[in-house]
Amino acid sequence: MRERVIKQFSLFSILFFVSLGLYAQAKDEAFDFELEVLTKDDCRLCHSGQAVAYFSSLHGQSENAVHENPIKQCETCHGEFYAHIKSRGESLDGVVSFANKNGTFLERNQRCMNCHEDSRRMHWQGSMHETSSMDCSSCHKIHGKDAVLARNEESKVCFSCHQKIRADLHKPSSHPSGEVMSCRDCHNSHGSTGDKLLRHFDVNLVCYECHANLRGPFLWEHPPASDNCLTCHEAHGSSHYSMLKRRAPFLCQQCHQNEVGSRHVRRVMDLDALAEVGEGRFIAAGSCMNCHSKVHGSNHPSGVGLSR
């Protein structure tokens, strides 16, 4: 009887442990199968929208060829997925998510810089945008069309933070915004040697790229123009002609109250002067520029008053 019980117990135990082993093996195989499915058929089982958009992007086109295992494409930027998959998406441990912004912005940006830290972005660290804790994904869209890369879409991305600039570009006298002229023509959003992320170390050198006629050097200089175009002009747009900060004669009178010239420079330019015989020329049309038209400098030997 006892032997029978022992045999039955032994058989039961063997069957139990074999079943347990088979069950465990089956469960592992099931998990591995699930993982296998995920790795082979990639992350799009859960993230189909992002995946479709990704494969239409330049990144997707390139990476697809590099990595035989598609999950490696996602891991390149998003980190390790094992815990994420094992938790069936509940855990983000080890995952770098740009949408959920887990981790620090430095960690997220480093994912991009691993491939993109070239000479065009060598000034990124410590730049105005980087010190404002901006992600690369603050401006760039990796999955699908990246609007900031298209000239005529770029400014819309910049305006989402730079609303004042958008307002300036709507002003009556403004630089064009769109395909013909874009933010990148003057600025490098990834950092530069100049102020305001300008492409050159000096603002005048930026302006001279399109306005080389004002570069000189002139015989008779107008020092504020030689020093900084933004002394008199707004960079993006103004309510006054020629993108001036204020209009003449008042802008000019902020610096010129000369003795010479029958007090015309320093006189009060009220509206009566416009109607006054012979005096309206100081106010109408171009005001001071009606005579002093070479306001950026003159190369005429007699152009000391910027009138020749």
């Binding site: 330049l58 390139s62 990476e63 060829a65 830290e117 060598m122 000034h123 660290q125 410590g126 404002s132 804790s133 298209a150 005529n152 989402s160 609303q163 004042k164 307002a167 300036d168 709507h170 009556p172 006298s173 915004s177 769109g178 395909e179 013909v180 040697t193 170390f201 399109c210 006629n213 570069r215 000189g216 050097p217 002139f218 200089e221 020092p223 504020p224 309510s239 006054h240 008042f250 610096c255 003795e259 010479v260 029958s262 007090r263 320093r266 009060v268 330019m269 509206l271 309206g280 020329r281 049309a285 171009g286 009606n290 070479k294 190369n299 005429h300 030997p301 007699s302 000391v304 020749r308």
Partner: protein, 664 residues
């Protein structure tokens, strides 16, 4: 390697094109290496960019790019910008567009402009057109080397306005000056070239570049016949002289550690101009000996930059930056004997080539207290030395700070402030007759200044599909030691943006901006006798607001997207004069400067097939303005100045734009 470059051809038929974006074509993988061959072509015949009074809709841009990743890239760009013609402009002169403006054969000189018969004036179109073509090639070695060459040519043609005056009496010079606004010919060509070498490794990047720019004005001068009874027969003014600019730059960065990076830059350039001088005057009897035949102008522009940026710890980041900028004007100084407006000599003058050296030191820190709160602190110091300036030395210190609160995932608030002070050496005005000025004047660009900045921004995401963002920024400049000149200048900008994603297919967005800018300045009509103190004041208040609303609907029908955009902007400028020249305060005000723009665009995009896309847009825009500098003034309204008869800008457009895009 099995590269199967698909043959691609792109045909674009354009009828009144508008708003056509870049579209990739010929994207092709090399399945072994990941190298892809790519190409794109884009063409926009500009309407959308022309949302201002000074630009015409007649603009375009063509861009073609081809390349192979990590191997080469080539691009070609051609574009055109046209400025909007001034309204109602007329001139007395013939041969407009040439560098010699002549009066009609039967012209009889007049003493006063009012005596000119408007029927003698002919319409003239004052505007310019800039065309640009540029190409670039980049070759990549795959081992870190990259070489780029880009070259371009800008050509600007047309007419712009130029004031031209004659003097007729040296005792009361200005009172007897007579002037005319001329149509000045513009025929400029600028050629640019850049050669750039890049080298990069894991820890460092280097970039060396050479830049050459040559400007050529096909008109050296502009001569015009005097239409008045008095003054010289002919005047000649110089136009912008030909010039060249050469620049060499070396920039490098090095990672001292994973957390610390150092960047250094060195740049040296030279601007040269040596166009032969015109004579002092068009009248031979007034011409004297010039000290040299041309300026031989030469300005060195140099820069040195050094920046160290460190992620000192997980919570603290530090930046230190130094930059040196120099404008070293080596143009020869000589004494000239200029002729005043082709009438007579008015003394000897020596040119004053302007130079400066500027040092900038910047220390910044960012501290992340926790995920909800971080701080920025920045200190900047500028040290400036100028030559041939009223203020030869100046320093400026600026301290700025910012606090950023991530209150919760739905709310973000940032507050910022900055305070700076600029202090210069003694203000020493020039003493020659042209520039002898009121001793109480302080030119605002070199005057002592206090600057204050305040800012607040709020981002609110009440739900996943709604974003509301607002900001307000105030900039205040004060000139505490200025009695004559600019006293203060304030700018306040406020904005609100809303973006609502109604569902996957419908997006609604809008913005409103409001800008207020105001300044006050003082002058002295009484200078030099009996007083140098201010006796008139001007307050200028500019207001501007813009509003935009947009609705975009994707897949309204299969393959059809539609949208509508509305923009409205309006500006108002007030100029208030307080005249104390008679001893009592007389306050008067100019008429308001007004601009008003309204634009409405309805558009639809339809993809007929994967290869064929069309776009149709109906556009309506209206602009009008009111400007006291032009309104109610005919060409011959002023006694001693013949105007062009220009009117305040206004226009109204309605048109249909159609785009078709085909790839095969």
């Amino acid at each position: 390697m099995n590269i199967q470059c698909r043959q691609y051809t792109e045909v674009i038929a354009i009828l009144c094109l508008t708003g056509f974006n870049s579209t990739s074509f010929g994207l092709e993988n090399d399945n072994d290496t990941g190298v892809i061959t790519y190409g794109s072509i884009s063409y926009e015949h500009g309407y959308e960019m022309a949302q201002s009074a000074n630009l015409n809709a007649d603009s375009y841009r063509l861009n073609i790019n081809v390349g192979k990743t990590a191997q080469f890239h080539a691009g070609l760009t051609a574009d055109k910008i046209t400025t909007r013609p001034s309204l109602g402009t007329m001139t007395l002169y013939e041969s407009v567009g040439s560098d010699t403006l002549v009066l009609p054969d039967d012209w009889v000189n007049v003493g006063r402009v009012e005596n000119i018969d408007p029927a003698d004036l002919n319409a003239v179109k004052i505007n310019t057109e800039r065309k640009r073509i540029a190409g670039d090639v980049t070759l990549m070695s795959g081992s870190g080397w990259q070489v780029s060459l880009n070259m371009g040519r800008d050509k600007k043609e047309g007419l712009k306005k130029a004031g031209a005056a004659f003097a007729t009496n040296t005792n009361e010079i200005v009172k007897n000056v007579k002037a005319v606004i001329l149509p000045e010919p513009v025929d400029h060509v600028t050629d640019r070239s850049n050669l750039i070498f890049d080298y990069q490794k894991e820890k460092y990047q280097l970039q060396a570049s050479l830049h050459v720019s040559r400007f050529n004005n096909n008109n050296d001068s502009l001569s015009w016949e005097n239409l008045f009874l008095t003054g010289a027969d002919v005047g000649v003014m110089s136009l912008e002289p030909d010039n060249t600019f050469y620049q060499a730059s070396l920039v490098g960065s090095y990672k001292l550690s994973d957390a610390t990076k150092m960047t250094a830059s060195l740049s040296s350039g030279i601007m040269k101009q040596d166009q032969p001088y015109l004579p002092y005057s068009s009248s031979d009897e007034l011409n004297g000996q010039l000290p040299q035949d041309s300026l031989d102008g030469e300005v060195l522009v140099n820069s040195i930059g050094l920046k160290v940026s460190s992620r000192f710890s997980e919570k603290l980041r530090l930046n230190a930056k130094y930059q040196f900028k120099e404008r070293d004007n080596n143009t020869p100084q000589n004494t000239y004997n200029p002729v005043l407006l082709d009438y007579s000599s008015y003394g000897l003058y020596t040119n004053r080539p302007y130079s400066y050296k500027k040092h900038n030191f910047d220390l910044g820190a960012n501290y992340q207290l926790n995920s909800a709160l971080d701080f920025d602190l920045d200190y900047e110091h500028d040290d400036v030395k100028r030559w041939r300036s009223e203020v030869t030395e100046a320093t400026e210190d600026m301290l700025t700070g910012r606090v950023n609160f991530n209150i919760n995932p739905n709310w973000n608030v940032a507050l910022s402030t900055g305070h700076g002070q600029r202090v210069g050496s003694n203000y020493v005005p020039f003493s020659d007759p042209v520039t002898t000025t009121n001793p109480l004047l302080r030119k605002f660009d070199v005057a002592d200044r206090l600057q204050h900045r305040y800012g607040v921004s709020v981002n609110y995401l009440p739900s996943d599909n709604l974003i509301i963002a607002g900001s307000m920024n105030l900039l205040q400049d004060e000139y505490p030691d200025t009695n004559i000149g600019l006293h203060e200048n304030d700018n306040l900008d406020t904005s609100l943006d809303v973006n609502y994603q109604i569902n996957e297919k419908i997006n609604l967005h809008g913005f409103i901006n409001r800008s207020k800018s105001q300044m006050s300045q003082a002058g002295s009509d009484a200078y030099p006798e009996p007083s140098i103190d201010p006796n008139w004041y001007v307050d200028i208040k500019d207001r501007f607001y813009s509003l935009g609303l947009g609705l975009e609907m994707l897949s309204v029908m299969p393959n059809l997207d539609m949208g509508i955009d509305y923009t409205h902007s309006r500006s108002r400028g007030r100029t208030i004069i307080n005249d104390l020249t008679t001893g009592t305060s007389i306050v008067s005000e100019y008429p308001d400067l007004i601009t008003n723009y309204k634009g409405l665009q309805l558009y639809g995009r339809y993809r007929f097939s994967p290869n064929l896309m069309g776009r149709l847009a109906l556009v309506r825009e209206k602009y009008d303005s009111s400007d006291w500098a032009y309104d109610d003034l005919d060409a011959n309204s002023l006694t001693s100045l013949l105007l062009l008869g220009e009117e305040s800008q206004r226009y109204s457009n309605t048109f249909v734009a159609f785009t078709i895009h085909y790839t095969f």
